[in-house]
């Protein structure tokens, strides 16, 4: 079983409140914000490793991002991934979901034969939940999003459960296929010191635009149909009345104000 897992390096969500808008340049300032592997992508990798342990095979992680994203692949190596591909080129920067999916698809076609491709259901930074269905379309395979369990049927079909708002769906999927998993599927393993020491023995294949044989017109910001028109800070104005007296008094004052404001 050849499994590909798509992982993305993202700014640590715990630090999002420190990301500010530079009033002059109108650009987001995120210096000093640490980066991490998108959390749910680790669940996707864990699912892949568990399948490999059961049926044998190979797990390859692939990530598109700046050179620094090699750290994400190294973390995946520590967890147990066999191979890693980093798609890194200035031309790839600024890709929207369609173009991200397109670039990942081209790389997978070129380098990674697959039976199964696993993704996280959403990224912490852009969080569109769109890459998985779009990747599947570019590879002409079926997809299922929001997957909470993966079961193996006979031969080349899976039975997966997809979480829904108010229940779930059961779906029979023929391989090869793309699945996007959610965080309820498993608990990602924590690499041991020995695992971490093995990272150095594995090699990351780094590819740019030329290696994929793509045109700069089709990737990154230039190749993306959607564009950013404005970026602005926004907060709805609230009254911000603070009551900090004794509990009984504060509660009474709060309810009094709510009554005055006709909010009850």
């Amino acid at each position: 079983m050849d499994i590909v897992v798509c992982i993305k390096q993202v700014p640590d969500p715990e630090h999002f409140s420190k990301i500010v808008l530079d009033a002059k340049t109108k650009l987001v300032r995120r210096e000093g914000i640490p980066v991490v592997v998108n959390q749910v992508d680790k669940h996707a990798l864990e699912a892949a490793l568990q399948i490999r342990e059961k049926f044998s095979g190979r797990v390859t992680v692939i990530s598109m991002g700046p050179p620094q994203a090699r750290e994400a692949i190294e973390e995946a190596f520590a967890m147990g991934a066999d191979g890693g591909v980093l798609l890194s080129d200035r031309a790839f920067a600024g890709a929207d979901s369609l173009t991200t999916a397109y670039t990942l698809a081209q790389a997978i076609k070129k380098f990674s034969p697959f039976d199964l491709i696993l993704l996280g259901n959403e990224t912490a930074d852009s969080g569109t939940r769109q890459v998985a269905p779009q990747l599947a379309e570019f590879l002409d395979v079926p997809h299922v999003t929001n997957v909470r369990t993966i079961g193996f049927n006979s031969g080349d079909t899976l039975i997966v459960e997809r979480s829904m708002e108010n229940g779930h769906m059961k779906i029979e999927v023929r391989l090869p296929a793309v699945l996007a998993v959610n965080r309820t599927i498993n608990e990602p393993r924590i690499p041991s010191v020995i695992d971490i020491m093995q990272v150095a023995t594995k090699e990351i294949k780094v590819c740019g635009l030329a290696d994929l044989g793509l045109s700069s017109e089709d990737v990154g910001l230039v190749g993306s149909p959607t564009q950013m028109a404005n970026l602005f800070e926004s907060r709805r104005e609230r009254r911000r009345e603070i009551l900090d007296g004794a509990a009984v008094t504060a509660a009474r004052q709060a309810v009094e104000r709510l009554r005055e404001l006709n909010a009850l």
Binding site: P13, F16, S17, S97, L98, E122, D125, G127, R129, Q130, A132, P133, Q134, E137, F138, V141, P142, H143, V144, T145, M164, E165, N166, G167, M169, K170, I171, E172, V173, A177, P225, T226, Q227, M228, A229, N230, L231, F232, E233, S234, R235, R236, R238, R239, R240, E241, I242, L243, D244, A247, V248, A250, A251, R252, A254, V255, L258, L261, A263, L264
Partner: protein, 337 residues
């Protein structure tokens, strides 16, 4: 690609009725259409939903493409995407809106990829602005956990596609005398469209009012853990005739069911009253109740960011404040009669 000057809405239906989220989108589509001079058209896929087009007409649809086929009774990702993309390629509307639901979120991206156009996820506002004389759909999304907004445009590709969470737009007032042209479209499908086949859909009955429709919401944060259970918050929720909800940690720990999470990865609430109990005020969370009319927050940390987005903030320990608050509200309500 130039196409028809039409605004499309993907219509979801359940048990023979259009979903609320669809009708909210229709209201917005009609508004947008007034600015661009475009009619509103719906696409309805499924099996046996005869009454739905009339409903869609009452909310502003002037035409409904109906793809009715027994094989499409349950949502089938590839088959649905294929028939919807087929219609888009044939008519190429200017704008195509989907609700960001279990189905919409899964379907819209695959349709966009088939058509080769842009798609903006989880918009919180849509409006038309002219650029070089050409009307463009400005699609506002929250960014970086919710503290910022980005307007996204899709200048060169059509349709301009977006998904919108339920509850972001208000339900319009229906007009009972409206009619829509109904166009039946046959589904051209083969085995290949069912490589992923939905074989079963299990839905639990809704226990209470869905969060997106609640008139009052009481949301518990991690600080409510100190209460040892949800009984007290539940009592407050009942006192304000509201629905109990929570932050992600409370959902992760199993105190609050997943469909009751407020925020970026959860629900957008537009209730009249929103009470936050022991939530620090992460933007991921606060972006979920921006549309609420009045916000009350209780937290023991006077510096908690939640107080920046509250109309009334009570600084104190929930174990002391909550019983008093519930008591006072009950008194107030009973004195009102």
């Amino acid at each position: 690609m130039t196409g028809k000057n039409e605004t499309w809405v993907y219509a979801e239906q359940k048990a023979g009725h259009a979903s609320k989220a669809t009708l909210q989108l229709l209201g917005k589509a009609v508004e947008l259409g007034k600015e661009t001079g475009s009619p509103t058209v719906c696409v309805l896929v499924g099996s046996g939903a005869q009454g739905v087009p009339r409903e869609l007409a009452a909310y502003g649809a002037s035409k409904v493409y109906v793809v009715d086929d027994p094989r499409l009774e349950l949502y089938q990702s590839e088959a649905y995407a294929s028939v919807v993309a087929g219609l888009v390629k044939e008519h190429c509307p200017e704008i195509f809106l989907f609700a960001a639901t279990d189905v919409g979120e899964d379907l819209a991206p695959r349709v966009a990829a088939k058509v080769g156009t842009g798609l903006t996820a989880h918009c919180i506002d849509l409006r038309i602005e002219k650029r070089d004389g050409v009307p463009l759909l400005h699609q506002t999304v929250p960014a970086w956990g919710g503290g910022m907004r980005i307007d996204i445009v899709c200048p060169k590709h059509r349709p301009q596609m977006a998904t919108v969470k339920p509850g972001v737009f208000d339900l319009p007032v229906p007009k009972s005398d409206s009619n829509a042209e109904v166009v039946d479209v046959p589904a051209q499908l083969n085995e290949k469209h069912f490589r992923a086949r939905t074989i079963e859909v299990k839905e639990e009955a809704q226990r209470e009012t869905p969060l997106t429709e609640a008139d009052a919401v009481v949301a518990v944060g991690w600080g409510a853990y100190s209460l040892g259970g949800i009984q007290c918050p539940q009592e407050l929720a009942e006192a304000v005739c509201g629905t109990l909800a929570g932050t992600r940690p409370m959902v992760d720990s199993g105190w609050i069911p997943p469909d009751r999470m407020v925020g970026q990865s959860g629900k957008v609430v537009s209730s009249r009253l929103f009470i936050s109990l022991g939530a620090s005020g992460a933007m991921h969370f606060t972006s979920g109740f921006e549309r609420a009319k009045f916000v009350v927050a209780v937290d023991q940390n006077p510096k908690a960011p939640i107080f920046q987005v509250a109309d009334i903030g009570i600084v104190g320990d929930l174990r002391e404040v909550l019983p008093c608050l519930t008591e006072e509200i009950k008194k107030q309500k009973s004195s009102k009669g």
